[in-house]
């Protein structure tokens, strides 16, 4: 097992290198740089920058070198365990993502305050939102898909497959807008801006949790329904596939009740192929979270990515792309490992 994990981890390295190189090249080959962007739209002081100063800035940040040299430098920084410094935030990228728990500890802060730093970070905000969306997705989609398969061709099966088809084509940014217009603006049932209400710090623990959930409800819904449609179709297919197996016929032939066939023999086996889906769902979740966080002003990595892109903050863009790629690759690995646990017939080679 350990040697398998090591081998997989080593194989990840070229993939990650290729991804980051592609992102880097794409960014650098496009015309423009942070200073020209600032000059086009920025403050008067930046606009009136004279050509020598402009050149000095380019040299200072190494932006006058060819892209592969810059990429090499970025890799060099990465090798030292640092993600570099953000141009626009003027602090280390890791602090932009996680705040500064290490510094708080070093300056004599309590473990609790260091933990609070992490919990209030952009990374935690995005993780919370995506985990909630994933939870919603699984809790609704898997039972719905199984129910449709158990009564194949029934009214629920037909209605849900039609509804899911429509859901699958609905752009999530439009759904977000419609939900905000209806639930947020017209009915005023739920907040739709940001993650916390004013006076959040003064709330009780339960009050805080409730406040967070209320803010997360709409964005999590928007993030989850696309994958929900996909997952439930897949769950339906998986159960139908299992129900056509010989051992199900055997179970029925020996007089096992229909309920036991379905729940004991069918469902358990149908859950296994669902594990493979995380590799497909995660990139979609990450992509979706960029646009949804932007609409709901959710203070997470997705919104940060848009900001980084508007200000051409290369270190930040690179770090986010790296995190996205690593998250997907790790989840693929976790899937493969989970598969062997769930299905002993599968061996890790």
């Amino acid at each position: 097992m350990l040697s398998y994990l090591t081998r997989r981890a080593v194989l990840m390295v070229p993939t990650v290198l290729l991804i980051t190189a592609v992102v880097f090249a794409v960014m650098k080959l496009a015309p423009g740089n942070p200073f020209s962007a600032a000059q086009a739209s920025g403050e008067a002081a930046v606009r009136q920058m004279n050509p020598q100063d402009y050149q000095i800035l380019l040299t200072r940040y190494g932006l006058d070198r060819p892209w592969y040299v810059q990429y090499g430098r970025w890799l060099g920084t990465l090798a030292t365990g640092s993600l570099g410094d953000s141009f626009s935030e003027r602090r280390p990228v890791s602090e932009v993502f996680f705040n500064a728990p290490a510094r708080v500890l070093a300056e004599g802060g309590s473990l609790r305050s260091a933990l609070n730093q992490v919990l209030s970070s952009k990374f935690a905000a995005t993780l919370f939102l995506n985990a909630l969306a994933l939870f919603l997705m699984v809790v609704v989609a898997v039972p719905a898909g199984f129910h449709a398969a158990a009564r194949q061709g029934g009214w629920f099966d037909r209605a849900s497959s039609a509804a899911l088809y429509v859901l699958y084509s609905l752009p999530n940014f439009w759904v977000a807008i419609l939900l905000i217009l209806l639930v947020g603006v017209r009915l005023q049932w739920l907040p739709f801006i940001g993650m916390r209400s004013d006076g959040f710090e003064a709330m009780s623990a339960a009050g805080k949790a409730w406040d967070l959930l209320k803010h997360a409800a709409l964005p999590a819904l928007c993030l989850s329904y696309g994958g929900l449609a996909f997952l439930s179709r897949f769950a339906r297919g998986a159960l139908l596939d299992v129900l056509s197996q010989d051992y199900i016929r055997t179970a029925r032939a020996k007089g096992v009740s229909e309920a036991a066939v379905l729940y004991r023999h069918g469902l358990r086996n149908a859950l296994i192929p669902l594990l493979t889906l995380s590799g497909i769902l995660l990139p979609a979740l990450i992509s979706g979270s960029v646009i949804i966080e932007q609409i709901f002003s959710w203070p997470g990595l997705g919104q940060m990515y848009i900001k980084a892109i508007y200000s051409r903050d290369y270190p930040l863009i690179m770090a986010e792309s790296l995190m996205g790629a690593v998250a997907v690759l790790l989840s693929n690995l976790a899937t493969d490992v989970a598969y062997t646990v769930a299905d002993p017939r599968v061996r890790l080679e």
Binding site: L18, V23, M27, S169, W174, I291, S321
Partner: protein, 361 residues
């Protein structure tokens, strides 16, 4: 009262040939409706200059007949005589509208387009007006007093063009690379193509597209560059299918037979393998168009796609996030995106059913 008539069911005879691919396609109501919607949309996009314009379809001014709205219609604006389509009467863009209330005595007859507003025309009096029959702004107006229906009609061109061109481009590239990798195999496949396909499959493409368009100077952002960027980041999906099909078929008997007859590798690939690999590629391409339409809308929505004042469904929609009370800015362009994506997906299902009898259901 019922009249007895021939019933289709009775006419079907055993042993008769099955329905053709086209019949299978047309029999799926969803697919047929999707296609009908897309055709309507294409017509609307093409004739948008006649449907929504602040210039008359026909006007008799000082006794001379002119068809000024046709100036925006592609082949006609080249064919018609210049003075038949050009009319710079007054600089006032609202001149035409005012003909209803204060007609110009030199105008003897005039025919307005159904939506008498151009997509770029800003009317200060109409800023943020809600949809209404009375004002003639059926979809309302945006924050600059531009008619939303006019902008949605003219924006259809962007969605349709980007969707089809991006998939055409990525299809050509993907099939070429995938075919070469699948047919030739070897280091090219193992070291480059397969790795690239694998990498792109596990990386959120949206990140890459955003990175590419956002660092571009806004003056380079138009439907052509967006098309190229979407194609450049989505061809690996097509390459994966092409590679698999070419790999599967290069050992087939009919390929061996053609090879024995002395066919060149290029001829083998283009004339013998590709036609047999068309089905999965075509099905995949149809779904890809839906994806490309969605992608263009998303990046324009984020402000890094088609730049205002040029209309695109995404950039009309983005205005609602600044003015949450103006629901019409959110409803109509979003519905257009949804219906287009849904239609392409339905057509994709239909194509799959029609061409691939092994497909489920």
């Amino acid at each position: 009262m019922e009249t007895a008539g021939p019933r289709d069911k009775d006419n079907a005879q055993d042993g008769a040939p099955g329905p053709s691919a086209f019949q299978t396609f047309a029999r799926r109501r969803g697919a047929a409706r999707g296609l009908a919607f897309l055709l309507l949309l294409a017509l609307a996009a093409y004739f948008a200059p006649l449907l929504a314009n602040n210039e008359p379809l026909f006007i008799r001014y000082e006794g001379v007949a002119r068809f000024t709205a046709f100036r925006g219609l592609f082949p006609l604006n080249r064919l018609l005589k210049r003075d038949a389509v050009s009319l710079r009467l007054v600089e006032d863009p609202d001149w035409l509208l005012n003909q209803r209330t204060r007609p110009d005595p030199k105008v003897s007859s005039v025919l307005l387009p159904p939506v008498p507003f151009s997509p770029l025309q800003q009317r200060l009096d109409d800023v943020n007006t809600p949809p209404s029959w009375r004002t003639g702004h059926y979809f309302g107006c945006d924050d600059s007093g531009r008619d939303v229906l006019s902008r949605v009609l003219h924006g259809a061109k962007v969605s349709l063009l980007v969707g089809l061109l991006a998939v055409g481009l990525s299809g050509l590239l993907g099939v070429a690379v995938g075919a070469a990798a699948g047919y030739a195999g070897g280091w090219l496949d193992l070291l480059i193509v397969s790795r690239l396909i694998e990498v792109m499959a596990c990386f959120p493409t949206f990140f890459l597209i955003l990175a590419a368009v956002a660092v571009m100077d806004p003056k380079y952002l138009n439907i052509w560059t967006i098309t190229v960027v979407i194609a450049a980041t989505s061809w690996t999906g097509m390459a994966r299918y092409a590679r698999a099909e070419f790999m599967r078929m290069k050992g087939a008997d009919f390929v061996a037979a053609a090879k024995a007859l002395g066919a060149s590798p290029l001829r083998l690939a283009l004339r013998h393998i590709l036609p047999n690999a068309m089905t999965p590629l075509l099905v995949n391409a149809t779904f890809d168009v839906a994806g490309a339409v969605l992608m263009e809308a998303a990046i324009s929505f984020l402000g890094v796609g088609v730049q205002p004042p040029d209309p695109s469904w995404g950039n009309i929609l983005s205005l609602v996030t600044r003015y949450w009370d103006e629901w019409w800015l959110g409803l109509f362009p979003g519905a257009a995106i949804f219906l287009t994506v849904l239609s392409y997906n339905l057509v994709g299902e239909g194509v799959r059913d029609a061409l691939d009898p092994r497909a489920e259901e």
